[in-house]
Symmetry: D2
Subunit: 378 residues, 4 copies
């Protein structure tokens, strides 16, 4: 299939441009019988939507989702679920300048050379606006995973530019616009962002996502490993430049005695693996970390070229996120949900009847607390 569909069994097909009539997606393969409403989806969309604080883009988009199909009397029927979000804020300003030049760090030049045409309004298809549909599709997956297996997926900002954010609690995440798991550090983040905005510059961030309660056994070696598909999903988010699972790059300097997670009847003793071994979930927390690059749309002058290859100076005015990482947490959670749901179904297809007498081991959460054994994944 072509590049705008993701998933083998829980398949999401995305469409839409930043300033076109609408964005949306078709979710195909969802099991029947799941109760789902626009509210379930809207709730997640609202976490990602613009304009919720002064630190993100002020574009006005209510991001109201409409369910066009696949749900009957509040329940999924097993047929495709089409989700539609009309674009509201299509300011009729002059894009002529953008159309003729390529913004540094943006997809403009690559799209143009690939397709020979591009919808330049607001970045068109390459805009992060598209990620709203991922959040919508992910909302359905999250609900199913939680109700069916007790899987809980949560993310947070772990670093904002130079400021590392120590994890304090999940509760703290919801109390600030940064998704920071640490209430005390929020003023520092706000000051940093205010200064940055004033300077007209932008900054990168690190986002962590954790899935708890994932059954042992999900993932398809040797290529469609669970971690490989997670890496694909995360690197496929706009502006992401790096992905780690578990110990990640720290494993470069680790010795085997340090890295490999010992097991006892009471459970795993560490989780350097990040919940996956040989591409298959172990029942421990899936731990993912990613780098989000600084926004390329900044107010400061940058050198570039135009369509004729001539030198130009580009700067980007308007309503842009100075740190796209701030709104990335719900997107990363959604992408992890899509991958897990897809593999839940794939596992059931091939191994739905497998049972072993070996007990499921308890695991270690990133906060160092042990979590009880996950359910079997069939």
């Amino acid at each position: 299939m072509s590049g705008n569909t993701t998933g083998k069994l829980y398949c999401v097909t995305s469409f839409g441009e930043s300033h076109g009539p609408a964005i949306g997606c078709v979710v195909d393969g969802c099991p029947p019988g799941l109760q789902i409403s626009t509210e379930d989806i809207q709730k997640e969309l609202d976490r990602r939507k613009p304009g919720t604080s002064r630190h993100v883009t002020q574009r006005r988009e209510p991001d109201e989702v409409e369910i066009l199909s696949g749900v009957f009397e509040g329940v999924t029927t097993g047929t495709p679920i089409a989700l539609l979000i009309r674009n509201q804020d299509q300011r009729s300003r002059d894009y002529g300048n953008i159309a003729e030049t390529f913004r540094p760090g943006h997809a403009d030049y690559a799209y143009w050379q690939k397709y020979g045409i591009r919808d330049h309004r607001g970045g068109g298809r390459s805009s992060a606006r598209e990620t709203a549909v991922r959040v919508a599709a992910g909302a359905i997956a999250r609900k199913w995973l939680r109700e069916r297996f007790g899987v809980v997926i949560r993310g947070y900002m772990a670093q904002l530019g130079p400021i590392e954010i120590p994890f304090v609690s999940w509760d703290a995440v919801h109390g600030n616009p940064f998704f920071a798991p640490n209430a005390e550090i929020v003023p520092q983040l706000e000051d940093f962002m205010d200064e940055l905005r004033k300077a007209g510059d932008s900054i990168g961030a690190r986002i962590n996502v954790v899935a708890t309660g994932v059954p042992v056994g999900w993932g398809e070696p040797v290529y469609d490993r669970l971690d490989a598909d997670i890496a694909y999903a995360m690197m496929g988010i706009n502006a992401v430049k790096a992905v780690e699972i578990g110990a990640g790059f720290a494993s470069v300097t680790q010795r085997g005695t340090e890295h490999s997670d010992e097991m006892t009847p009471e459970g795993f003793l560490t989780n350097n693996a990040g919940g996956t071994l040989g591409g298959i979930s172990t029942g421990q927390d899936i731990m993912v970390s990613m780098a989000v690059k600084p926004t390329s749309s900044i107010r400061l002058d940058r050198r570039s070229i135009d369509k004729q290859g001539k030198p130009v100076i580009v700067n980007t005015q308007g309503r842009h996120d100075p740190c796209v990482g701030i709104r990335a947490t719900p997107i990363a959670e959604a992408m992890l949900a899509l991958v897990l749901m897809d593999h839940a179904l794939r596992h059931r297809a091939q191994c739905g009847e497998v049972r072993t007498s070996t007990p499921i081991l308890a695991g270690l959460s990133p906060d160092g607390h042990q979590h009880p054994p996950s359910p079997r994944g069939e």
Copy 2:
């Protein structure tokens, strides 16, 4: 398709266990007319094969490849190319112990809980022995990419445990068993490995891969981005725990003015993007970095459980790589070749007729030298 096939158009289907009769793959979708011989493939296999130095496993495997189909009179016909490598070294030692326990850091426990059965001999399907077929399939892709577009794919070890390896030259890579781009540092690497082997422990490594000459325009947003597929391919290599493209995690602390690569008529001025923007190649070098975890098979005692969930002590004697990263370079190169070739074909399918009058920009190689503009990708 199931998890042992990778690629949409240049499709590799892998099979085989570490100690079964054979490993191999079927390569489907290769364009007709490419001259290919067993020597072309063997040359790459020999770079990965075991036993080439004292720092890697001493298992004796000539890894001789046989072409079973798809090549006629030395030329690909467009039909599936089946490659077969018979396993030679299937020592008839007692695996009974391994069969009943789960080695920490290995896929044993996950495979067992997923499938309810496993071929435990030498790790079975989860063994890194399978990566030989990736190298074989990649050899064909590399040849086509080089002959058709001038794409050159090269990798090297950038760090061995605590020892960072400064890049000196590509030539140096071939002169040592570590694929280190730096002849001077080799004695230090050897000493480190000798000590490690004596201690019975293992160590991680960082591998970098660079593709030069990649045309602008390859990659399919929004999900099957070039970088997303690269992340999938690299994280899908045994023992890999992290993947970076371009600036990677360094982009967390970068400002927009620093990260986004400016363009001039003379070419890009930096390459923080690592050769891909919006999921599409820019014509700059594709730059990938990855973390390889320390080998889990070590001689030292580790706590684990057996099939009944009872505690056991496990240590792994035998012929194991103390650093799987040492042999990972040819594998990473091969995986990058597979992704690039797949996207070359995908691009041609959809955009084979696109031409623009905008000049192709020159790019910056990681060594800071400018490379000339790539050819068009159609």
Copy 3:
């Protein structure tokens, strides 16, 4: 991918129920640069839409299509094209009866046992209403195939129940509501249908589709043969029970000397193959024939069961096509277009550079006229 997406490179993902808010689809993989407007699509939809004569369902559906994405300033951009058709005629009549029973010959029982839930309103997802989106997606494919390669796809009704319809001319097809290629026989068809409608019964039909100008070389042996994919596409149309390529079932009684199409420098002498040999197009007309079963929704009493398995009598009042074959021609044309377009792209991906010095042979059209050689398919 799941079952509501078709095509490998020109991918159509369909959604929507008969009486839900909307039906539609996402077309992913269309080459950029194709001029396309709602009018281009609407024109094809109008050929299929209900209510155009007394012989088809009187449901009022304007079937107005909206392009939501993928087209910018009248030209495809290479990004997904989302097409939306709002359902207008959602009569609020009582479906309670249908909800509790299974109509013979319908998908009701199978959907219920598969999904455990079904949107019973008007057949829900199993309604032929969904075929409108195939026509819409096919309209884009037809335009590209015609403009790029000169491929022309045309269908007609070859038999209505017992009445065989001799082919007279393509021009005749457009002059009657049956898509009959024969003006003289139309009154006979009308009388037959009037009588049938009076009786409350329904009837089957045979539809033929022909694609002229298809280049030699499209199709991917051994599984994704062009004819195999055509059979899949046609059998996948609601109510279709049989598919023939070329001589079809007549080849059972043919001898080799009769069946195999001889070649001369002037062209093929016959076309028993129906334009495909070994699963690859020959450059001759692609000739497909299919059987459309009689509508299962009839006014006459039929035995069935209800959800508890108890016997019931079912008859279907309301606005139903007494012969679904009458509106099947544009659908069959669209499905053939989807398959051909997909294989055009697939061929270009793998074999885009192939040239031979062997001349392209002229072919024979089903009307016995020779057509000139097709262009090369790259």
Copy 4:
């Protein structure tokens, strides 16, 4: 994926040419825990292999299969199962003549124009020899379907050229080289074939295949319907030109009162649907019929062209089946098994938890006997 892989979850990737070193396939996605041996597979291969009677090709091929992976201690492990069949009979005769010309009715011309190269020896990849691997892959599927659900798949020859073969019993099928379900008619078939062989000509045939015990609920509307995938699988067999499900083309002249299968608590009363409604299995027998064209390799003179487009006379000496339909029955059974198994897994993935309180209905077998309700398909 490319054209030599079939199936979404039970995936078969085929390779090999008629006169190359070997043919074979990789079966990926098979559930773990199935007991399988070379004997299980060989048994099916022996039913298809050449040289078993004077009415088929006398090429000597033992078709001995080797299992290279995926089976450990006699049981499938869930990893890819590679099957290898070495070609034995690669007569070193001069193929020069064939290499320069195109045999009428063969894939020669199409392969050449598509790929610009072809392995002409014995038809290369387009040879029906490839179908052996389908039978091998199908043998595994059949075993799983039978053991897991009680599905039985059986085929027979229904017509040989002009001779219709009335169905008498399944037992009769195994007693003659034609797979004729009718012992009395065998002498007539033999006489016909002897005469045909003497004349140097060939003949078509009709093959029927029936799957009994298929659970209700398999199939994925709207595109990947069970019947659509069956049509794809059957039309994808070499020389097949037409496929019918259930009443097939007879439904053209049927009225709704005749065609649609009534239901009673005791079961379905007829089976015009051929076991599938709305693309989903009904629990009745899956009934498929197909046309196999006459062999194109005949000893009689035929007009053709050579690579330069010049006229030539072609006749084919050697060891060819005068009726490829004779050996087609095991192939058709295998292909049906592949489709059913794939959909069994796909159904379980999405609907593995669905249960209804509606009883499963009994069905009608083609011989008019009622069969008991199938098991649920999860």
